[in-house]
Amino acid sequence: MDIERSLRAALRPLDPGADFVAGVMTRVAADQQARRRRARWQMPLALAASLLIAAIGLKIVMQQRDAQRIETARQQLALALEITSSQLTQLQQKLNRNAPSENGI
């Protein structure tokens, strides 16, 4: 018994029927329509997402700049106060040196 020959004979391809191609083409058309629909929404969605990301990025940059400005101002104020304090101290010392003693000497 030649089993290989018998298998080839038993396993000849079967036609799925006349409607098969029509079924495939209908599904291909539906698939293409779905892809087009997705593509139609993809561009505005991508644009909106890009804008949102850009806006968030801009906001973060602005916040960082504000924070930097506040820090600079704080440092400048601290320096100014330090200078003022130093000048006041010097003035105080000068006044103390020039003040007459209690017994008039």
């Binding site: 080839r8 004979a9 396993l11 391809p13 079967l14 799925p16 029927g17 291909v28 698939d31």
Partner: protein
Amino acid sequence: MSLNLISTAAASPASLLPEPACGPPVDPPQELPAASLLGDLQAAQRGEQAAFARLVRAHQARVFSVALRLTGRREDAEELAQDAFVQLHAALSQIHSTAHLLHWLLRAITHRSIDRLRAHARAPRLVQIDATEHPAEEAAVDPLWSRRLRALLAELPAAPRAVVLLRFQEDLEPSEIAAVLDMPLNTVKSHLRRSLEWLRAQAAVEEAADHHGH
């Protein structure tokens, strides 16, 4: 055409298991002019739907038959085969030859069918029986023996069954089967050898039983 339902899970190994209701056996598309297929492929890639329909017509029997003989369900086979062609349409730009097209289709349908078969592994299998299947083929060879072989084949696990189908339905070489199934070549050869040994043994048992019966 009469349709019955049987549960193959409960069927005995020697039970006759005809295939579901289908059209007659057809000649494989490699007998079509290769230039015509290539022309249709190129036209389909340019967007010609009629050319794609011709490609479907040329390959539908092979793709459908692999799915049918792997899943054992006509409705599954039809759905899976259609899925494969729809997927092919979306991937047409990646196909570079008619041989690649066939390889792509066989790979898609085999993997999908094996997945479906495994998903249904625990469910009772209902197979539609059509008394008029394969009239042309069975006039030429022993119809009873062909049915027995298909019934025996349906008892093989998914992977060896796919290997046997690709070898004897699609006439693929073991190396080609290995590429389609993502399987080592030695595994393919081993599945083939063991499946054929098992089929021969089963056939011998049934032949002996027939002699005793008579």
